[in-house]
């Protein structure tokens, strides 16, 4: 299966080069695309030097849009699957093959790397874990989908899902919302256990006060996605 690794990156100089090299040294034969989301630092240069394919947004559009640009790229160039990895080094490139194997088995249309399915690895702070628990609960309440790590950005999708997301992708913080939406559309979602690392450098896009805003906004998006007709 010809697949593409998509790395959305916003001001990730110092991280993104390391990640791209790590991907290439894993012996993965997938192409690696870095979507530079309007960074003001050397993100694009670093990605290029490390040997990644590169698409640069002229302005900052948000992580959801950067991911979607990756889907558009994959759609236009005939890739059959996309794996999204975060630039900050939290997602181990070695686990890409695990996700792809699950996808290729045909048991799932979307495969999510989950920190919480097995013990071990970096598991985030207690408040964040509580927030994630809450999101799991509300997603199951709204659509019956059981997941353990709805905020995980490490996911593999097949051709059908990527062509859908290339057309319509949730904004800003897309992870939980797209799970619910894809589940309602009848796509099969599976999680596989992945040991994640703490981010290597830089800061998370979501600060402490931002967390509350994040939860409120995602909750609103989830409820709205439930009220929307699934066949959109």
């Amino acid at each position: 299966m010809r697949s593409l690794i998509v790395v959305p990156a916003y001001n990730e100089a110092g991280n993104v080069g390391r990640l791209v090299r790590a991907v290439r040294s894993c012996g993965l034969d997938q192409d690696c695309l870095v979507v530079d989301d309007g960074s003001s630092d050397a993100t694009a240069l670093e990605a290029k030097e490390a040997g990644a394919l590169l698409v640069r947004h002229p302005v900052n559009l948000g992580v959801g849009a950067a991911e979607q640009t990756g889907y558009l790229f994959a759609l236009e160039r005939g890739y059959e699957a996309v794996v999204r990895l975060d630039a900050d080094g939290q997602h181990p490139p070695a686990a890409v093959s695990t996700l792809l194997a699950e996808l290729e088995s045909g048991r799932a249309d979307v495969v999510v790397g989950s920190r919480f399915l097995e013990a071990g690895g970096f598991r985030s702070s207690l408040p964040r874990r509580l927030g994630i628990k809450y999101l799991c609960w509300i997603i199951e309440l709204l659509c019956g989908l059981k997941v353990t790590d709805p905020t995980s950005g490490m996911r593999a999708v097949n051709r059908r899902v990527l062509s859908l997301l290339a057309r319509a992708q949730p904004e800003d913080y897309p992870e939980p919302e797209s799970l619910l939406w894809l589940h309602r559309k009848g796509f099969r979602i599976r999680e596989v256990a992945v040991r994640m690392a703490e981010r290597a450098g830089g800061s998370s896009s979501i600060g402490s006060l931002g967390s509350l805003y994040y939860l409120v906004k995602v909750t609103l998006a989830l409820v709205m996605a439930t009220l929307r007709r699934a066949g959109r």
């Binding site: 640069r56 979607q68 790229f73």
Partner: protein, 117 residues
């Protein structure tokens, strides 16, 4: 004619003039001006016809007729601001699409250039 009524009339008229002029010069698109024009038409009517205002205020249970004009103005402003929220949301989707398209084309040009050189 009460002073406040005159003020409302003058204010509405000058704003109406401003909007019409902006449309004429092509600085304001008709589709964004319709709500304004509707608002001015109603406000103009209300500031001209005092008996109507008083009658409507009486029916609605408002003691002071002129405050009905303010109520209407407030209501229209809410509508217009809401309309702008919708327009902004639509615009941000369009902007996103354009930027993505541009980024993908740029990447393709870069590849073609490298392939040739």
């Amino acid at each position: 004619m009460a002073a406040i009524q005159l003020l409302a009339l003058l204010g509405t008229l000058s704003l109406l003039l401003f909007v019409v002029e902006a449309i004429r010069r092509g600085r304001l698109k008709e589709r964004y001006a319709l709500l304004w024009l509707g608002a001015f038409a109603v406000l103009l009517l209300l500031s001209l016809a005092r008996p109507w205002v008083d009658w409507l205020a009486l029916v609605l249970g408002i003691r002071y007729g002129t405050s009905l004009i303010f109520l209407m103005a407030f209501f229209f402003l809410l509508l217009i601001v809401l309309h702008y929220s919708l327009v902004i949301s639509e615009q941000s989707e369009v902007t996103k699409r354009l930027a993505q398209r541009l980024a993908l084309l740029e990447a393709e040009i870069e590849e073609l250039r490298c392939g040739r050189g």
